[in-house]
Symmetry: C2
Amino acid sequence: MTQRLTRARITAVDTRDIRFPTSRRLDGSDAMHPDPDYSAAYVILRTDAPDGLEGHGFCFTIGRGNEVAVAAIDALRPHLTGAELGAAPADLGAVYRALAGDSQLRWLGPDKGVTHMAVGAVMNALWDLYAKRAGKPLWKLLADLTPEQLVALVDFRYLTDALTPEEALRILRRAEPGKAEREARLRAEGYPAYAASPGWLGYSDARLASAARRAVAEGFTQIKLKVGADLEEDLRRCRIAREAVGPDIRIALDANQRWEPGEAVAWVQALAGFDPYWIEEPTSPDEILGLAAIRRAVAPVKVAAGEHTANRVVFKQLLLAGALDILQLDACRVGGVSEHLAILLLAARFGVPVCPHAGGVGLCELVRHLAMFDYVAVSGTREDRTVEYVDHLHEHFTDPAVIARGRYTAPSVPGFSSTLRPESLRAYAYPHGAVWLAERAQGVA
Amino acid sequence: MTQRLTRARITAVDTRDIRFPTSRRLDGSDAMHPDPDYSAAYVILRTDAPDGLEGHGFCFTIGRGNEVAVAAIDALRPHLTGAELGAAPADLGAVYRALAGDSQLRWLGPDKGVTHMAVGAVMNALWDLYAKRAGKPLWKLLADLTPEQLVALVDFRYLTDALTPEEALRILRRAEPGKAEREARLRAEGYPAYAASPGWLGYSDARLASAARRAVAEGFTQIKLKVGADLEEDLRRCRIAREAVGPDIRIALDANQRWEPGEAVAWVQALAGFDPYWIEEPTSPDEILGLAAIRRAVAPVKVAAGEHTANRVVFKQLLLAGALDILQLDACRVGGVSEHLAILLLAARFGVPVCPHAGGVGLCELVRHLAMFDYVAVSGTREDRTVEYVDHLHEHFTDPAVIARGRYTAPSVPGFSSTLRPESLRAYAYPHGAVWLAERAQGVA
């Protein structure tokens, strides 16, 4: 189905440094990131189209350096200001290649770090704009594209030894039958979520137990615990969590890159009695071969990783090396929707389930679209798939993530759900928004 | 040998955006970077020590985005301003871990992209400062450290399955005998260089031939050609170069990431008749497994890579996967001297020669120190080792690289040779230095 939009030219690229002082409460604390201030290097794209719609996107960061991500988005301005937007979403494939392929900026990556995250923020903002203009939530906009249009969005450079355009087309065509039925089921039933909030390292034992029980009462069938700082602590916390949730709830563990490969194996084996479902980020995200070795050693505990994986080429390495049981796509780490699509296709090609990384600020809002699109149009299944859910900061978004009975409700508002409320953009602007002025007045920032 | 310095506290972190309009002349053009403006995101560290010495360091970039790298250096200020510097260079290991491990900034990498390059710039500036204060060129400062002191500088996190502190110590102790003799030979004979200037893609055939002949006349025994944009062109240019230099001069080829792995194999095989010595960056720097496959297929042509390798963990992957014949360390891509040392030790552990990447602006000045230190104190050999040399922009440095009979002369000036002349810092400041004002007056920038 072609979706023609009236012409539009980008007239403004408005960037903001938005930070939430989450480190005050130890929300989000883990073995490597003890004090995150969840932040967004935020971009608003405006056009001269009479509809007045804006595209919103952001890099998710955890505080310091958010200004560097803003600078990286600003560096993309020459590609954006004055650019004529194509009439169809499929034209965004070429925009992605122009941004990620900028012959000078690519030296700073290529395809990794802040500059690549900035490409992702801008591409996500463009997709938000296209979806708003088309009057559809992003997942539906993508699901309504033809296999050929979707394939045109993907940059196959460095992928063709594992995934050719023809193979991508075959995957997408295989998912065509049943699309309408899956879409209906999605709207009726939602998409499985798991609860990551109970397990922050900074929480007390009592808070862990009550949060774990509450998650189960709310309908979640999987929770997650941060581990990796201290084995005795982890043994105690795993016991508390397992006792709180009973034997039938999956408990995922997340080490946030804390271990050497050999250390990871020993640590996971020490916790095996609590029947962990997966071990997430057991070591460096760059440890292709190390993750593969860990996976071989800790089975049947699954290895999950991907939130810090820089790009589709590294994901391809992980898949070719047999390093992943679970691929944890992040909406704001890679180069935006075109690259998400490439990664979903790679995962489908290797038969690895995608369970997106979320939490932070805005990640839950974004990744539900990607998982739902994957279900409707790529993998065609929700089997063994679940999207991370963390219950904070949603109130700042105009189209917040909604959970019912442990499942993400399918978004119905047009766009990518990436739009922060204007009052939040004002209050949390760093360093001069009202919230930060108040923090400093209290002498804590 | 301990080297005690008087105490010093960092009083100022002065950053600059320095760019050279090299794209005007097609110097440095290759298949992926047709129009680089060689640039430095530059940092000057000042202290309260009475010696008044400054530490200079920089990220090398190729133009747009240099301001992002400056912002990334600025983001490290909280770790630097007011910091007391330890009395011995070995204390810089802890500084490296603090900078690279910043719990919020690491989200932007970890250990990759602009934020990691910024850590490298600052660490190199600190090493420049220590070497100036010790009155030694950096290579000599490092070579005079004990194996124990050197090992204390290395962050072994994520390395221990390939290189333990004990193995590093063994490598360094193995190189102890003969150090004085190698140092004397280095001062007398210099360190082998190869000439990369002849082979820029933007150069005409006549300019290629004359530059290749001149390189041989100047004493170089290896030249390098950029390839990968067009096979017919490459065949013609390889023929011209081979005819110009004769059969005994090594010709290296550099594809600057242009190819898919399979394409790389076919292309290199098509050029095999011209007896290329190595193929450099045949594909994406993230292609651990692809590079290994290319290496197996194109032997005896060697595979060289590393200038875009983000960190020591990725180098470890490349070495474990058997992806490299030649490791091309870059002085400004990774996290500075501590990480260079880790990478030199890894290369020694795997018996892979290090042939540093240079060119750009200032890379020749820096990497000669690393190669010379490697020869004196790590690998203990110059066999099959050669440092890239490009003959431009040296005049801007206070201690420029000097080549004699195709070899780098050993630096004798204290420091890391990373100091740009004050007049160059003023004239090439972007966007308001005199050179850029003149460029804009001519309507070209």
